[in-house]
Amino acid sequence: MNNGGAEAAVAPVGGPQPLEWKFSQVFGERTAGEEIQDVDIISAIEFNRTGDHLATGDRGGRVVLFERTDTQDHVGHRRDLEKMDYPINRHPLFRYKTEFQSHEPEFDYLKSLEIEEKINKIRWCQSAYGALSLLSTNDKTIKFWKVQEKQVKKVCDLNVDSTKAMGNDPIVGSSISTSSKQYMANGGCTSNDFSLLSGGLPSLRLPMVTTLETNLMARCRRIYSHAHDYHINSISNNSDGETFISADDLRINLWNLEISNQSFNIVDVKPANMEDLTEVITSAEFHPIHCNMLAYSSSKGSIRLIDMRQSALCDTHSKLFEEQEAPGSRSFFTDIIASISDIKFAKDGRHILSRDYLTLKLWDINMDSGPVATFQVHEYLRPKLCDLYENDSIFDKFECCLSGDGLRVATGSYSNLFRVFGCSEGSKEATTLEANKNPMRRQGLTASRPSRSLASPSGVVRRGKGADNSAVDANGNTFDFTTKLLHLAWHPTENSIACAASNSLYMYYA
């Protein structure tokens, strides 16, 4: 467990300086005493590839899009700016762009099952010609959405007076098809007449169109349904731009974005007899560069890397990443807390970040003997596992994310806290932030020492005690297991984090 920590402690002190996180923005902030509607709770967050757009999904099946505002004036020059070696004194700012209802509650009559509308995952697709496109999924159905600017037009100068047309509307409707057919029937001779008149029939004119304003329109282009018997936990786009995968508890399916009526099952871990079931799939993601590689995690704490080139059915993995448990440390909770809730590839594709109940682990895909680093997220909860089991919190699925440069990782915790760790060699960066307008408040309260070793047990214990004390004096929501920060995302190019505290979206930068 302490491998990563020990390494970090031994390694020469250096590496990048810890980041100073500052509050940037909040959307949907809760006012004091406001009751949270369950449907408003955010259940998915995702930046697009460029980081110019951010999407959130909620339990009410809605998808909300935000767009970056601070770069719009000089989008074309951004790359040049980045190349220049002076610090840019601005941070990503976003504004609300649009929202749409992605999923509705449904009922599966065959299985007598209610299908929630809650958005489980959102993934952006390659955008083209000004249209944004993304995939969103609930437990069963994946949808492909296209969001595009539509001009709201006023049409005038019609040939037929609209009031007159309104008057005999049904007759117009029916007469069009029949009379135009008649026209077609003797089209041969009439067309001769037309060409005699130079300029055609002058009394006919095309409608005049004036653009009033542009409006954003979301259209559902494709629905990929009926391919999952169990709940979908992840979707992931392939780098080839034409396929994606969807994973449920027991199977992973491969789809072509253009084809919604067929998918290929590439992984199936369902045992012949369901009583033999010991392990389920918890998360799956494509490699960011190699279109043939994907990784999936399991409830037993292992990550499997698959090479789709080897075989059409990928039930045998090409690499297995799991940590040997320390002998004698087994307890009733060992298996439960080992379950991986989320995995993410680093942008370079070399590393995989995984989150289990108590830790974040960073793996090198070329090293399957163990993680290269382990970060304790809230080790102080270890003595409380029994309580956490009682109130089901132990099954909470925390997501994790990596910075675009791969130097830092982040994940959420309880009491609306989230933690950022430096993962470059020698880095001891370990920051605790609260999803709040004053993110460093916690830091002060618990008097955390910036120099302490990451995984040093003593440091953790102190942190834990400090928090325990604060439970008495602070707002009374410390260790509040109901305020958990499950979803967060790191901006792909900048040090900026978006995280969801129940119904509010907080953004931080450094």
């Binding site: 098809s177 300029g199 009394s203």
Partner: protein, 588 residues
Amino acid sequence: MAMINEPLYPIAVLIDELKNEDIQLRLNSIRKLSTIARALGEERTRKELIPFLSENNDDDDEVLLAMAEELGVFIPYVGGVEHANVLLPPLETLCIVEETCVRDKAVESLCRIGAQMREQDLVEFFIPLLKRLAAGEWFTARVSSCGLFHIAYPSAPEALKTELRTLYSQLCQDDMPMVRRSAATNLGKFAATVEAPHLKVDIMSMFDDLTHDDQDSVRLLAVEGCAALGKLLEPQDCIAHILPVIVNFSQDKSWRVRYMVANQLYELCEAVGPEPTRSDLVPAYVRLLRDNEAEVRIAAAGKVTKFCRILNSELAIQNILPCVKELSTDSSQHVRSALASVIMGMAPILGKDATIEQLLPIFLSLLKDEFPDVRLNIISKLDQVNQVIGIDLLSQSLLPAIVELAEDRHWRVRLAIIEYIPLLASQLGVGFFDDKLGALCMQWLKDKVYSIRDAAANNVKRLAEEFGPDWAMQHIVPQVLDMINNPHYLYRMTILHAVSLLAPVMGKDITCSKLLPVVINASKDRVPNIKFNVAKVLQSLIPIVDQSVVEKTIRPCLVELSEDPDVDVRYFATQALQSSDQQMMMSN
């Protein structure tokens, strides 16, 4: 505003509806774009309608798709080929939109227009358009551009040609895999227009880039390019440049690439010619037949016969046959099934002796396969092997296979074998059929599943056609008619159905003497469903039998049924009576 006179009204409405809020009406108008254009005249179509359409590019994809298609055939309406260039701008925008099918259609239309355009117009309008797309900011534009080079290239002056080749080579190395895939797909078409010296240098280096692409989704499209390029190159160049690529691809890490090779191998062999096929591609093919991945073996197994046809029988026996033997016991049922569907075709290639010696054991083992599809595939191609070695050698094993399939617990399997019974009957002959299969055919009439009973009734008719009425009178009709006394009304209904099918084949004498009495008898059935089916059958018998029989037997029976207490029976009886009335009027 409302001064449109009567005959123009429909067109006026059509024009207005180009901007209607209802997408169906907009689609309808776009589909009639040629009508609108004719009404406006050529000049106003050029100056007003086309620019109007160009601005319409944010419409729904369905409308854009229809527009892309219509514009492809619009040259006559804008004033002929000399004005064709006005159609390019709207199609150019459609080439960039997000939706793939719209772009594909726009490219198709552009190619159609470009193929008709005058050379100087191509240089002045089409090539600049192509260059804009190829350098487009959105990847969609670059994807579309790949499909236009083969139209533009032949008309381009020398300097431009060089530029176009450079552009295409850039597209082959684009950042976006989608663009590279499009470049790979269209390389063959473009190469066909490029002059031989450039083909060997420029095109081959592009091809080389694509075959080494990191993304297997690109590499597997390059496989198709192999065949197309191979046909363009001189034989010796083809052997020098294409053959090693094919051999490499056949050992690619990615099963999808190997699958493509297996699927395309026949075309690839044609491209490289017979000699290299024997020396290099036979080993490659053998590797594919023994591939680790079942999908690859399925593709390879399905090409066994086609591949052997381009080899001589000696090579086939020596190299391919051992693999075929292995495949016949493959662990994947789908591989065996693919093999079974083509293996019978090998008999004529190998000749009688080799077939008996080598293939027959394979046939027999496949006929005993545990997977019904495999057995069915063998049986369905029985005629091919019959021509070479005769059926006798097989018949001993055939019968158990057929019986087992006939009693399979999956009704779809039973259905499939019923479909083949007439084929089997014609191959096996009357004698064999009488002994073994007759009973089966009767058994199917009493199947639990309706589709089987229905197919069985049809089968009885087809057998009667195959062997003639006399044989049917002896071997089918009595057995079928016996079953009319079955206690279950659904089975009685099947018999009625069989009777209605048999009657036209058997002719009026047998119908009157044997079939009709049974039907008349059934009109006394206690189940109304039988009775109204009797009415339907009687209606179908009216045209077959003599008028006197209709008057004497059929009509009285129908009249009686038309007074039945059951409403459905009355309905169908009345229907039948009416049709018999009509029949009489016609004949009078």
